[in-house]
């Protein structure tokens, strides 16, 4: 039993399990949430589920929905690959599975953060609208059709606990890659080399 357990890449196993747990959690708890006014508008964003809530109504933008499907499938396959790899790290198919799985949680995380930062920068540059990534701010809405009316809104935003769960999952998957060498080396079967005496033949 101890031998079987020692064969497992535990970083990969926990990283893969956390990645799958993160997918389930992210369906219900967003990574980042923006609230406008007194809960008048709510934006819940994560790489697997993003929706825009207006009181009781909820909207999904088709393009973002497609990105969410990509995020969900990518993370799911990554988690499964990491789990399979981590219980059989010395098999011939293990290394390709690890290479396939370990980077994806990190890339998904980076893609999400870069996307959020890009959206805030674009809004700031084009509409002079300051969207906070964390914390709160009062902003004036740039509404062209409402000339003569200034509409100010109170915005409050922040990263939720599921975001930090994603950070842990991505870190563990990277750790699994770094730990792989050790697991693979210790599990290498002993190779015996035999010296074959050389024979020379005179022609």
């Amino acid at each position: 039993m101890a031998t079987i357990l020692s064969k497992i890449n535990w970083f990969g196993f926990v990283g893969g399990a956390l990645t799958i747990l993160m997918i389930v959690v992210s369906m219900f708890y967003p990574w980042w949430q923006l609230t406008v006014g007194d809960d008048l508008i709510k934006i819940n964003a994560s790489p697997v589920n993003t929706n825009f809530g207006f009181l009781d109504a909820s909207f999904t933008i088709p393009f973002i929905w497609a990105l969410n499907v990509i995020g969900l499938l990518t993370l799911l396959l990554s988690g499964v690959a990491m789990l399979i790899y981590s219980v059989m790290p010395t098999k011939s198919f293990a290394k390709p599975l690890l290479d396939f799985g370990y980077k994806k949680p990190l890339f998904t995380f980076l893609f999400f953060v870069i996307g959020l930062v890009a959206v805030t920068m674009i809004l700031q540059a084009i509409l002079d609208f300051n969207l906070p990534l964390m914390g709160s701010a009062t902003n004036t809405l740039p509404i062209p059709f409402a000339s003569g009316v200034t509409i100010s809104v109170f915005l409050s935003a922040g990263f939720q606990w599921s975001f930090w769960l994603a950070v842990v999952a991505a870190t563990l998957c990277i750790a699994a890659r770094l730990y792989h060498k050790k697991v693979a080396t210790t599990q290498q079967p002993a190779v015996t080399t035999a010296t074959v005496p050389s024979t020379t033949t005179a022609s």
Binding site: L40, F52, I61, P62, A66, I70, V149, T150
Partner: protein, 185 residues
């Protein structure tokens, strides 16, 4: 091993391409719909008074304005129909009061307390105002023989459920009659 890598690469490409192409094909007749779903347009129409939307209805005065000589304050009640498709809370409402005939600044007014109005329902807003000393002088000198004076509430600032609307000068004026605090009749 190379076969496994190839299969995994193909899977990676497929899970990126299939959702994107599928969404693109589903919205090929309306590419804008990729980024702006029709529900948002319908909702915006409801809010700003599009084709059949309700728009913003001005409040109507109910009853007579009351004036308290001691504190030089008055109160006016308005009825406001919430024509938006959602419950709202009017947290605050402030404005300046001017003489309708001379545009003389008389004082300011504000909502007595926050009012919550359900969608489609009508609520009563009580606005409290205070006259300045200059306003009392103006009422006496320019309107001394009038029991009630026409005034306008201008420069509205309204806070509805955390969203503040500031109407610029001349955008919206609420006319009303107030008792003349310096009536010499």
């Amino acid at each position: 091993m190379d076969k496994i890598r190839l299969v995994l690469t193909v899977i990676t490409i497929a899970i990126i391409v299939i959702p994107l192409v599928g969404t693109l094909l589903a919205n090929q007749g309306n590419l804008l719909g990729l980024f702006v779903p029709p529900e948002i347009n319908e909702f915006a129409d409801d809010l700003i008074g599009g084709d059949d939307g309700p728009g913003l209805e001005p409040p109507t005065i109910v009853g007579e304005p009351h004036y308290d000589e001691e504190s030089q304050t008055f109160s006016v009640s308005f009825e406001y129909k919430n024509s938006f498709p959602m419950d709202i809370t009017i947290e605050s409402l402030t404005g300046n009061i001017k003489c309708a005939a001379h545009r003389f600044p008389l004082g300011n007014a504000s909502l007595s307390e926050p009012v919550s109005i359900d969608a489609g329902e009508t609520g009563t807003l009580t606005v409290l105002g205070a006259w300045t000393d200059d306003a009392i002088s103006h009422f006496g000198s320019a309107h001394g023989n009038q029991e009630n004076v026409d005034v306008v509430l201008v420069d509205f600032a309204v806070d509805i459920s955390g969203i503040q609307l500031q109407l610029d000068q001349g955008q919206m004026e609420q006319e009303m009659q107030v008792p003349n605090p310096a009536y010499q009749g």
